[in-house]
């Protein structure tokens, strides 16, 4: 029997279940080398380094979880990958093998699920999903109805497509936000603590739905998932990257070679959670 969870040394380790297909542009869907990102200090005096000489590579079709204390720059990393933030310096800044700086349109193949659903309250759930389709110019347009029907169906919202956000629960709003991301059929899915504002029962349900959505496609999408919840990280991730406080560095990587669904009462899951707790306490200075 193989060890279900094991630590690796490099930031570019292969995921536990590498897909057979790779992106056309190279072996990695996301490749960051020597990235430095500085934020101006609130008082305007100098800058605050968020990342310094940071490296990360993400395999196509993998489910990578970024785990770390609040404020360490996990969400910032997703924003860099989505082209929403430009680093001060980077040797390599590639998404799907294309340089973000010279080819920013490549991020049309990324879709983002935010911490809050961020739905437009004046649009129905269907209208919100169409907003994403229109923005990312998903073609052909004739497929939109079929795509929406399919993904709303998967998350159990087919009967609620014409409701406004205030007419449905927070969990349903977040489901709609997930549909907005998936329906574009993005190559890369960026998820920033999407379940952190939900109650535990709804969050657990949505995690199961996410895994179902992710595993249903023959060519799996690449997922980068940010969380500070260790249990969530182990339940979802094939590869867990632990970040230190700012300036963030990768202090540990864990490959989780366990089948889905994963439950906290599984001793193998529990063992990995314990490892991560120890790592966060010892290397990231966080008591969990």
């Amino acid at each position: 029997m193989t060890e279900p969870g094991h630590a690796v040394d490099t930031a570019t380790a292969l995921p536990a279940d590498p897909p057979e297909t790779t992106s056309a542009g190279g072996p990695f869907d996301v490749e960051l080398r020597n990235v430095t990102l500085l934020f101006p200090r609130p008082d305007g005096k100098g800058t605050l380094p968020v990342y310094e000489n940071f490296d990360l590579a993400v395999e196509p079709g993998s489910f990578t979880v970024l785990l770390g204390p609040s404020g360490c720059g996990k969400s910032t990393l997703l924003n860099i990958v989505d082209g929403l933030l430009a680093p001060a310096q980077a040797d390599t800044l590639k998404v799907l093998g294309r340089d973000l700086r010279t080819d920013p349109d490549v991020t049309r193949q990324c879709a983002y699920v935010f911490q809050n659903a961020r739905l437009l309250k004046w649009k129905t759930l269907r209208g919100n999903v169409e907003f994403g389709l229109r923005g990312l110019k998903v073609q052909p347009k004739a497929r939109w109805a079929e795509l929406m029907d399919r993904y709303f169906g998967v998350v159990g919202l087919r009967d609620f497509m014409d409701y406004y956000p205030h007419q449905v629960s927070g969990g349903m709003q977040q489901r709609a936000a997930i549909v907005r991301a998936f329906v574009n059929e993005p190559r890369i899915l960026l998820m920033d603590e999407p379940f952190s504002h939900l109650d535990e029962i709804t969050a657990a349900e949505l995690r199961r739905e996410l895994v179902r959505l992710w595993t249903q496609d023959a060519q799996r999408r690449t997922v980068m998932f940010v969380t500070h919840d260790i249990s969530e990280a182990v339940q979802l991730g094939q590869r867990i990257i632990v970040l230190t406080p700012r300036p963030a560095t990768i202090c540990h990587e864990e490959i989780v070679d366990l089948p889905y669904p994963r439950f906290s009462n599984d001793e193998r899951v529990f063992a990995i959670e314990q490892t991560l707790r120890t790592v966060l306490a010892e290397r990231a200075g966080v008591q969990v």
């Binding site: 929403l84 935010f114 961020r118 437009l120 649009k123 907003f131 923005g135 990312l136």
Partner: protein, 245 residues
Amino acid sequence: MQDRLAQLASIVAVILVWGAMSAVIGSSILPGPVDVAPRFAELITTGAFLEPLLESLVRTGVGFVVGFVSGIALGIVIAKVRWFEVAFTPLLDVALFAPTLVVIFLGIAIIGTQLLAVAIITGIAVAPNVAIYMRDVMRDFDPEMTAMADSYRAGRWQRVRDVYLPYLVPPMLAAARIGFSMAWKVVLLSEVFGFSGGLGFQIRINYGIYDLVSLLAWLCIFVIALLLIEQLIRSTEKTVVRWQP
């Protein structure tokens, strides 16, 4: 239905209070609803109310459009352009606190009793209030929505149509309500003090001859017209922003 009954009850209550006050003070000083009703009915049935009302409405409409459009534009630009805010905020404060009567007198003295004077006077009265309201609304815009639109690569037109405009419509309607009621009052005052026509003029001449019954009958027409317009704006609001809880 309940809302309608409540509205009706409040109007009946106002009429009752008016009647009670008239009974206490004396109908020669404050004519009551029963004294005013025949004159009011006469103005309505003979159609005598129509010309002054239309005259006031045209003045209010023109003044309101000038004040509202410039106020909306000013508010949005102030919220978005830093130097514009620095340059215009003191001017806005002055316009906001300038006594409306002084503006009316100055406007009539400088421009005369033309439609242009009403447009400028009302514009000066309405625009600062609308501008400040819209500036604050723009500042309250959730930056997370901008980030969402950035992330989904929404183009400029898509943002305007699907994000900014729907966000701005409810406050714009609220600003329209505030602006219109203000324009209505400014026009009435302008007519009282300088114009030879409109509801305000009717109020002035009736006050001049101490015909309080006619004065109050015209005032009733003014109030009813204001309530009807307010109702119209509310109905538009309900249709346009039916997504609101």
